[in-house]
Structure formats: C-alpha cells, structure tokens
C-alpha cells in the first residue's frame, strides 16, 4: 500500500528526515517510536503533504507517486493524519466542517454528496465509536476543547472519513487512561484487512491497546531498528539513549 524509499525532508535549510525507507501493506499496523526530535512527526506531516517541507526521495501510495500529490489529493486517495496538535478554528462549526470535508472527498472521488440528514445519521453513529460528547459537535472546530477532546475529535473525523491509511501522530499524548482506552477502542474498530495504520508514539503505553504488527525506531531522521512488538518492551526497559548516542554513519561530529 505504502512504499517509502530514501525519503529526505528539510525545513528552513535543516534536514530532519535523512533517508527513510519503509513498506506498509494493507491490513498491517506499524508503530514508529523514538526520542523527541527524531523526526517522527515530520514523517507524518510529510506523508500528509504539508507544503512547509522540502522533500526528496520516492513515496508510492497504492501505486501512485504520493510526493507529486497535493495534500487534498492525498486525502481523496485515502490518507488521513490525526494531528498531534489539532488546529483550533473559531467560527467554523465542528459538524459543518466535517460534512464539508467528507463531501469534498466524495465529490473528488466522483461519489454523491451526503445531505444534512444522512450526514447527521452517519456522524451520530461514528461519534459513539469514540464515546464523543455530542455537545462538542455544535461547537467551533476544536475551539476550547481539552487536549483529550481534540484527540477524540481526530479519531472521530477518521471514523467518518474512513481512510485506507491512517497516520496517528502522538494520539496518546494528553489522554488519561480512560480516554486512551476509548480512543484505542475506536481505532481498533476501524482496523480491517484493507486498511493500514501507522502509529507514531513516544511511549509503549498506546501499544498495549493498539497492538502493532511491526515496530520501527527512529533516531536522527532515520529508522535505526525494526522488529515486532517485542521491540516495544525492550525500548521501555532500556530507553532511547543508545540510539541517540550513536551518530548516524557519515554524519559529521
């Protein structure tokens, strides 16, 4: 589904991704772990098409050249990023926004748009999936939401938009244990054979609830180790220190 080859990304002249290669097949759940500043969130932003970054390398998504596609085209193709810091937009109603987004995607896919009634029925059903307070639906998008409410709202959007590849950037941060459990339940409900998940997290905690097939460790803009879920336990015990200590080959001291 997703093939990343030698992906580089820089912002304002400083290189953050230094050659990432990764393959994700449909139905798989991958987790990327690593210390702060290792480039995890940049990878998520670059895959979703944030134009702030200068990128090079190759990324193919369902056979298409992803890097040549605008952010909205990637959304239409089925990529979804749950933001680490969802943006607050005063003046735009939460539900109005989501209906606009869903219909923008449907229109660009050549599907019929949903009317207000059909959309509301869909939204109500998906809201229950993440145990979202319906009161939040009538408020402005993320405005005044707590950290946990914002994260829930991201997963709710994902449940409505039904992406093929969902990238969850630090979705666990800022969640208490109950919120983490219900958000994870929402994510797990969306797992399927034709959908892939890429989880980005600093802590192993999330992986107790959303169990990955593969784990990759990022440091200094590269994937330095890959393994199965046992790797998370190892990281929890030893930390990231030894990845940070070893400079990447070819890097000047």
């Amino acid at each position: 589904m997703l093939e990343i080859e030698n992906l580089h990304a820089s912002v304002e002249g400083s290189e953050i991704l230094r050659g990432i290669s990764l393959r994700i097949e449909a139905g798989e759940v991958h987790a990327i772990m690593g210390p702060n500043g290792s480039g995890k969130s940049t990878l998520a932003q670059v895959l979703a098409g944030n134009p702030t970054y200068r990128v090079s390398g190759q990324v193919r998504f369902q056979g298409r050249d992803l890097l040549a596609m605008a952010a909205e085209a990637r959304a239409v193709a089925g990529i979804f990023l749950a933001f680490q810091y969802p943006v607050e937009i005063p003046g735009v109603g939460n539900l109005y926004f989501l209906r606009t987004a869903l219909n923008a995607v449907r229109r660009q896919r050549g599907q019929e748009e949903l009317d207000a009634m059909d959309f509301l029925a869909l939204a109500k059903e998906r809201m229950q999936l993440v145990e979202m307070d319906p009161e939040l639906m009538n408020r402005a998008l993320n405005e005044g939401f707590s950290g946990g409410e914002k994260k829930r709202n991201e997963i709710f959007q994902m449940a409505v938009l039904q992406p093929s590849l969902a990238i969850l950037d630090e979705t666990d941060s800022g969640l208490d244990i109950d919120a983490l459990r219900s958000v994870a339940a929402g994510v797990n409900a969306l797992r399927s054979a034709d959908r892939a998940l890429l989880l980005i997290t600093h802590y192993q905690r999330l992986l107790d609830y959303i169990v990955p097939d593969y784990i990759h460790v990022m440091a200094n803009g590269r994937i330095v180790q890959s393994g199965d879920k046992a790797l998370a336990v190892e990281l929890e015990q030893h930390g990231y220190a030894h990845f940070d200590a070893a400079p990447a080959p070819g890097q000047r001291p």
């Binding site: 979703a48 098409g49 944030n50 134009p51 702030t52 605008a70 952010a71 909205e72 990637r74 959304a75 239409v76 979804f80 990023l81 933001f83 969802p86 943006v87 937009i89 005063p90 003046g91 735009v92 926004f97 989501l98 606009t100 987004a101 869903l102 923008a104 995607v105 660009q108 402005a140 959007q157 938009l161």
Partner: protein
C-alpha cells in the same frame, strides 16, 4: 489644506446653485461655502486624511443629478438591488425622492417618515440646522459640501415611548452611467424618550459608473431611546463614497451601528458618537472588505461626555489584491466622565502580499476612574490551519475561503435582522470570492 478654487469637482456643482432660495437655506449654504473657501479640501498633512487621498475625487468634474433619472427603475429591480426587510421604505434615486418606489404604510400614529423636500418651509428651517451641526463639531470639506448642496433626504421622527416593530429602510441608490454625478444623501433620525426602532441604510448603485456619494446621517436619541442602525455600502467599484454618521445620545440611550462596506474605489465611513447623558451605551461594529485597488477608510470618534457611559467598538477588515483598509478610532473621555467603560478591537486579515492595512487606536483620557481597553491586530491566514483543512480533503481555495468566512462570521452573526443578515452574507460571500482574485 489646498485652495478650494479651481477644483474641477466644484465647477459644475457651484454653477448649479439656484438663484432664489429661502433665507435659512441661503444662510446655511453661505456658511458652508465660506467654510470651504477658508479651509479648502484636506491633504495628506491632515491627520484624519493621512491615508485617504482626495486628489482623484477633486479631479472629476462631477455634475449635479437631474431630478428625473434617465431610466425608470422597477420595484422588482429595486428589491433585487437592496432587498426588502418587511418595513416602511424611503427610496432616493440620485439624491431625489422616488415616491413610487417608497412605502410608508403601517407606521404608528405620531411617527413621521418623510423626505425633507416635502416638509413645509418653516419646519425645514428648524430641521436643517440639525443636519448642519457637523459643520460646528468637526467640520471638513465634504461635510460642508453636503450642507451646501444636499437637496433632499430622509426624516424619521419617532415620538416618546413608541416602538417600531418593523425596520425602517432608507435606500440611497445612484444610477450613474454617463456623466459622473455627485449626490449628497442625508438622513435625520430623531427618537423621543424611551422609543425604539431599527433602521437599515442601503447605499447602492445600479450601473458601474463613476459618481460621488457624499452622505450624512444625523441621529439624535433622547433619554432611554434605543436604535439599531445598519448600514450596507455596496457602491459601484469605481465610485467615491464618503459617509458620515453623527450620533448624539442622551441619558440611558442605546445605540448600535453595524456597517458592512464592500463598494467604492475610495470609501470612507466616519462615525462620531457623543455620549452626552449618563448611562448611555453605544456599540459599533464594522466590516470592510477592500480588494482590487479599493481603498476603504474608517474613522470613528466616541466622545464620553457624561459618567457611567459604555462604548464597545469592533472592526474587522479582510483585504485582498492591492486593497487598502484603514481604521482610525478615537476614544475621548472628557473630564467628569467617571466610570467610563470603553473598549475597542480591530482585526485585519490580509489575503495577499500586496494588501495593506493601517490601524490606529487613539485614547484621549481626561478623567479618572475609567476603563479603556483596546487592541489591534493584523495577520494572514494561518498556514497550519490551511494545511489541516487540506489534509481533510478541502482544496486550497476552499480551505482559504472557509477560514476567511470564519474570520468574518462573528460580524455577520451580530446582525439581528434575519433577512438583512442573509443578504449581507450573500454580499460578503461574493466580495470575499472577488478578493481572492489576483489584481
């Protein structure tokens, strides 16, 4: 100030002065012309006109408008141009009263809604000095021109303790396609003690010609009176629209003004509020949306003259193309205006690299024990917010449009007349779309 002589603007207008006129009129006009001869037109050296260059206006040899416009306007076309808010309506075309298009049915007994020219001479002699008040309090050349050349206008007088359920609509329409016209619309609005009303002023054009609309609205609120005043400026994009709203408020009166300004090559909206009685409250909202080469200037002055008065001011500008938005807001707290509570916020959103905004708050406080808050901000659309929306499937233009609408939405929500709100929403939507088009 530059000399008023040899100004192309004045040549035809001065020549059209009638030979015979009543004494009160000769006197007022004489005073106005004299003021103009002494002071001339403002230049960039005048602080209040620093950003608005009047040279392009002075260079046009404007003609006075004939009493009968060339084209007949149908009621259907009028409704299309200005909407219908379900209440009484006075229509002025090129400054002249258009009786067939106006509707005055359903007014409570004692309420007068008329055009100035229809009043007996003796009554007009009493009312005209009220309109000429601006020449005393804060005179400038265009105010003088309005006093000298203003022919007709609207009069609304509401007796004490009378509530108008339906909004009054004053329509000032300019139909100018051939020779450039100068019109000087006027409105005098007086509310007796404890009376209540809402009023819409529409300043619109049919046709895309150059004209000068030099408008004056004078509002007088007696004790406890309440007026909601809406102003919709959708002048021709090649017109010059200079409007002034002058308000005097007695004890415990309430005034709210809501301006939406979209039109004009040069547009200027002056608001002067005098809080003369204790406990008076005023709220000014303004939304200005210049694009292309448009220049929209807002000059507000709120004078707290009595204790326990409250003023709220909220202006927002969305500026595209090479447009220029100006806000200059004075708040004056006179000695003795204790417990004054004033606030002012200005926010400008620039949609292009060539758009320009100037925001200037001025607080002049001569009393103790007052609260005055102000804030001014200029910004662009948040790139992270645009990316967030695009990552959900909205195209970049759709994302920008959504964020721009979000920026103006609180101004639209502040319009309490539902049919007016939907009209302004449509007008603003069209203007915002045009702002995104590169110049």
């Amino acid at each position: 100030m530059s000399s008023a002589t040899q100004v192309p603007l004045l040549t035809a207008l001065q020549a059209a002065e009638p030979a015979r006129q009543p004494a009160w009129r000769r006197q007022l006009r004489g005073a106005a012309w004299q003021w103009l001869a002494e002071h001339g037109f403002p230049t960039a050296k005048d602080e209040a006109w620093k950003y608005t260059r009047v040279a392009p206006i002075l260079a046009v040899p404007f003609q006075p408008a004939a009493a009968q416009p060339n084209r007949r306007l149908s009621a259907a076309r009028l409704a299309q141009l200005v909407g219908d808010y379900g209440g009484p309506r006075l229509v002025f075309v090129n400054g002249h009263f258009a009786a067939p298009l106006s509707a005055r049915a359903g007014l409570p007994v004692g309420v007068r809604l008329s055009n100035l020219a229809a009043l007996p001479d003796a009554e007009r002699a009493v009312l005209e000095p009220l309109l000429a008040r601006v020449l005393q309090v804060a005179p400038h050349a265009f105010g003088a021109l309005n006093a000298a050349l203003g022919e007709d206008g609207a009069v609304l007088q509401i007796p004490a303790h009378c509530t108008l359920e339906r909004p009054i609509h004053l329509v000032f329409l300019v139909d100018s396609d051939a020779a450039p016209l100068a019109v000087h619309p006027r409105a005098l609005i007086q509310l007796g003690a404890g009376s209540r009303a809402s009023l819409v002023e529409s300043h619109v054009a049919s046709g895309a010609g150059i004209y000068l609309s030099n408008a004056l609205s004078q509002v007088v609120l007696e004790a406890g009176a309440e007026l909601e005043h809406y102003s919709l400026q959708d002048a021709s994009r090649s017109a010059f629209h200079l409007a002034r709203l002058d308000v005097r408020q007695a004890r415990d009166s309430r005034f709210s003004a809501h301006l939406t300004a979209c039109g004009g090559a040069i547009g200027r909206h002056e608001v002067r509020i005098a809080l003369e009685g204790p406990g008076a409250r005023v709220a000014l909202d303004g939304l200005y949306l210049p694009g292309g080469e448009q220049h929209l200037d807002n000059q507000t002055c709120i004078e707290h003259l009595a204790p326990y008065c409250t003023s709220r001011e909220r202006y927002k500008g969305v500026i595209g193309g090479r447009g220029h938005g100006v806000f200059d807001g004075r708040i004056i707290v006179r000695p003795g205006a204790l417990k004054t509570d004033a606030s002012q916020t200005i926010k400008n959103l620039l949609l292009s690299a060539t758009a320009q905004a100037n925001a200037q708050p001025r607080l002049e406080i001569f009393a103790d024990d007052v609260k005055c808050a102000h804030g001014a901000a200029v910004g662009q659309l948040d790139q992270q917010a645009i990316f967030y929306l695009r990552s959900r499937g909205l195209t970049e233009p759709a994302a920008r449009a959504l964020l721009t609408h979000a920026f103006v939405s609180e101004m639209l929500e502040a319009i309490r007349l539902a049919p007016l709100r939907s009209r302004v929403e449509r007008l603003v939507a069209v203007q915002l779309r045009s702002l995104e088009v590169a110049p």
